[in-house]
Symmetry: C2
Subunit: 197 residues, 2 copies
């Protein structure tokens, strides 16, 4: 199989991670979304000086704004726009880091329509320029979260035109399971350390 | 003077840049804002594969959304939020790049209140982690635009508590004048090449 990291190194998730796959259940499902988990994780990382990674604001097209006297400008007509980049980026250990995070209710695969073409192309450009890029995918029905390198994702997205999704088994094999904890909730930097450095 | 780049190297703008300072006038003032100039520049850079740098969306707090039948979700109440990071970031030649762009009508200095404390701290964190960070400052009354490294800015912001602004003369001396052109409109990567590589 052609799954290799940009360095040429073939990555297989360490056995220890797989063995620990279900230890997160002791924390139970606290009803937190992946976005909330990542925002808290990034805030923890930032406050402890580990990295500077933020979620970008949601792109919104503002059409009309009222300027009431003695109070804040009020947007009264606006629409959500499609994002042209990924949601998260920043710097870690001197490297540019860029990723998208998605949850799916699907139990057996990750539907590729979750990622817009602009976002996939953006991730490809980031890798070309020497950055670290990946998806964080949560299968919310079973509460399992994986870090899945952009190069694997691009193989499915750009080279397998007849496929509409990535099998979960592939993400389990070539991705890295992210255990849930308290602080940080999703210690994805530990996984970045193993894969990219 | 203590103005030095993180590498310890003292930077002075090349004489050639200063000599060419007013050549931009042949293009006249086309009434473009700094943000428009940078967005077009970044799009040109991206489409030619030079770098991947984007402006982040404006942070907006959405309060109420209508979901009309057969048409797009309409935001009917929302407010502008203060940004906690800078507006622009991305990757160039493998390095993380992060900057804020500001215009001032002031003719003799750049008022420090243009930058929020969160933004200044963010830029300081970026430099700590090995990223490239700077301000792009336009004095719009005279239509002059400068790239001014974060380390200089931080000296004024964090160590000169009695100052409320940075003298324009300092920005002229320690910053780099950015000439205006057609494509790209503001070739700031050429200046990054000189200063940071």
């Amino acid at each position: 199989m052609a799954f290799r990291y940009p360095s040429g190194k073939k990555y297989t998730a360490p056995r220890s991670l797989h063995n620990n796959r279900f230890t997160h259940k002791k924390f139970g499902n606290r009803g937190m979304s992946l976005e909330e988990d990542l925002n808290e994780t990034n805030e923890y990382y930032r406050s402890t000086g580990r990295c500077v990674i933020h979620k970008k604001p949601t792109p919104i097209q503002v059409v009309h704004v009222d300027y009431p006297k003695r109070s804040a400008a009020k947007i009264t007509e606006a629409y959500f726009k499609q994002a042209s980049t990924t949601d998260y980026n920043g710097i870690y250990r001197g490297r540019y880091v860029d990723f998208e995070a998605k949850e799916t209710r699907n139990k057996t695969s990750f539907p590729l329509q979750n990622i817009h073409p602009h976002q996939a192309e953006h991730m490809r450009d980031v890798v070309k320029h020497g950055g670290i890029s990946f998806l964080i995918i949560r299968f919310s029905a079973v509460n399992e979260t994986y870090l899945y390198d952009a190069s694997y994702f691009h193989w499915w997205y750009f080279e397998q035109h007849k496929r509409k999704s990535i099998p979960k088994s592939d993400i389990e094999t070539y991705g890295s399971f992210l255990m849930e904890g308290y602080t940080p909730r999703l210690d994805y930097l530990a996984t970045i350390d193993k894969i990219y450095f």
